[in-house]
Amino acid sequence: MPAFEYRQAEEIRSVLQRHGVRYLFIGKSGAILLGFPDTTQDADLFVDRSPGNGRALVGALRELGFDLTEQQAREIESDKDFVQLKNGPFDLDLVFAPDGIERFEDAWQRHVNVAGFPVCHIDDIIASKQAAGRERDRESLPRLRAFRDYWLQQRKDPES
């Protein structure tokens, strides 16, 4: 499968918006949208867990071209914490309960809009990576924390 493209990010944005899905970009893909220069393989979405949102998400995923069986659709709509999709036009991770973030609503209150893309605040992205505690996160966290300082400063004073 080819790498995720900007055009596909735009499709996620427009299709999920049309279906009324509440979600946020999270993980490294979220950080990259905020301006963090790094590489990643797939997009990670933090999705608000509610029956209505789950149904809307399944409809949106099918419109995007994900080949979901009825069983898989039910799993996405149900109480799963994490779903990994590689049955569509690009790889997508759906996170319903990211480590380090208590509630979707809290993250939503803090979220940042980047050209129409809803993105977790950098502090939430760092909190989730820190709480996950994986080797790969431990390696990337110092640079991500440095980017946080840079990003906050840029927001405060864009000319700096």
Binding site: Y6, S29, P37, Q41, Q72, D81, Q84, Y150
Partner: protein, 71 residues
């Protein structure tokens, strides 16, 4: 330059500045790469009841060098 920025290694600061100058579309084009990850990429769909289940599955099934194991 602010004190916060002074604490950032010069090399990283240059990278952040360069990224900030690029349009979003270009940033994403540079950022997303695709390389095969053994085991992880071998199923079209996986769902886990809890994040703990997912983390444990990664530790028990993925090669250690992929970096998904917890420290």
């Amino acid at each position: 330059m602010s004190e916060k920025k002074n604490n950032i290694p010069r090399e990283w600061l240059d990278e952040f500045d360069a990224a900030a100058r690029r349009p979003l579309e270009q940033r994403l084009r540079y950022a997303f790469i695709k390389t095969y990850k053994p085991v992880l990429d071998d199923a079209r769909f996986r769902a886990f009841d809890t994040m703990e289940d997912y983390r444990r599955w990664c530790e028990e099934n993925l090669p250690r060098w992929l970096g998904y194991a917890r420290v």
